[in-house]
Symmetry: C2
Subunit: 224 residues, 2 copies
């Protein structure tokens, strides 16, 4: 079973894709896997960044907390995604924390092993560059949105994107509203109110606490 998870990681993860079978075998040997229950902490800000963590199953929220105590949800990692940047540097501290949202299986590679691997496997470094480049583009968009767009715009954008990513107009919110608020840089109260307003305007329909149906994707995209 454990063996199985390790292979899953290597197979699942985009950065290991298109490596030759030889390399893949090498990688699999270095991988250790580990389980966490929902709510458990996978890594904490301020601790040593000593391993690369790749999600095999489940979801992990990555947050950053300011001195003031307010917390920003930076992203949610799903299967195949990894927490990342910290491992690339010479021994350094993590700047973010990761908490399991569901039961989670992660595959880990120690920083040392991973850096060795990078040197020996140029194709891996290129894959990694692509992955980080995409992340930069996404973060730039997130920063811009946070500074420049209203809460309604950001929420509407989130709904449209989520719906598009899942390929359906009707879906279950992948986050609690509390977490969604932290992601959008607002409060649960405001998320609640804005969703109610969208519903009043006939843009969406809410069912229960976390079911959303998008009725008018076009107008939702135009919300300001």
């Amino acid at each position: 079973m454990h063996q199985h998870e390790a292979e899953d990681c290597v197979r699942l993860v985009p950065i290991f894709q298109a490596l030759d079978p030889n390399d893949v075998a090498q990688v699999a040997k270095l991988v250790r896997d580990r389980q966490y229950a929902a709510g458990e902490t996978l890594f904490a800000a301020g601790t040593a960044a000593d391993a690369l963590m790749i999600i095999a199953h489940g979801q992990v929220k990555v947050t950053q907390t300011l001195a003031s105590g307010r917390e920003q949800l930076l992203r949610v990692l799903g299967p195949g995604e990894f927490d990342g940047e910290a491992v690339l540097f010479t021994p350094s501290e993590r700047t973010t924390s990761g908490v399991a949202l569901t039961q989670v299986v992660v595959c880990t590679i120690s920083r040392q092993d991973f850096q060795q691997l990078l040197k020996k496997t140029p194709a891996l470094a290129l894959n990694m560059l692509n992955s980080l480049g995409e992340r930069v583009v996404q973060l730039e968009a997130q920063t811009t949105a946070a500074n420049v767009a209203s809460v309604s715009e950001r929420l509407a954008g989130y709904l449209v994107e989520t719906s598009a990513a899942l390929g359906q107009a009707h879906f279950t919110l992948p986050l609690q509203k509390k977490d969604l608020a932290a992601y959008l840089g607002t409060t649960p109260e405001t998320v609640s109110r804005k969703l109610a307003a969208f519903e009043r305007d006939g843009l969406i329909k809410q069912n229960g606490r976390s079911q959303i149906t998008i009725l008018d994707s076009d107008d939702l995209s135009l919300v300001e």
Copy 2:
């Protein structure tokens, strides 16, 4: 002179550091350099990302603009820094725009050449990974600050960081207040008022339009 600039780029840029002389020579051959006057556009969002641009001299502001027309200043590139991520992908569009703040000399490498170079020069890929990793960490901090901190906190943080980076309590703001406002996600009016407030509280002293002296760095860091 042109030859000179090309060498400058290769010598100056962190990502080319620690390459062996052989590689460096190779890189220099691929580099073209180009000049821009203050205010000129180096690249625009929506156009093809066909070249990597490295700043040899001067400063370039990188911005992202929302449909609403409001503009976010993402960063200011100085000598040795580069605009980057876009070049890594298969042909794609730029998501950001770059405008010269001063007279600027940039060195460019075509995307094709650069990608070839990456494949042939593993050390370069590793340097690039480090550089992008740092950028991710910095962007995460910027996103968190934008969502979670007040304008006063962000401005105070900016002053403290800038002062620290320059190594002196007295300095000239490297940006116009208009641009500083765009960077912090606020308006020039608010920047003006907050600085006046800091001065009233004895935290800083302003001289002329852009001279700042930090009087109490500790208390400035505690502003909320």
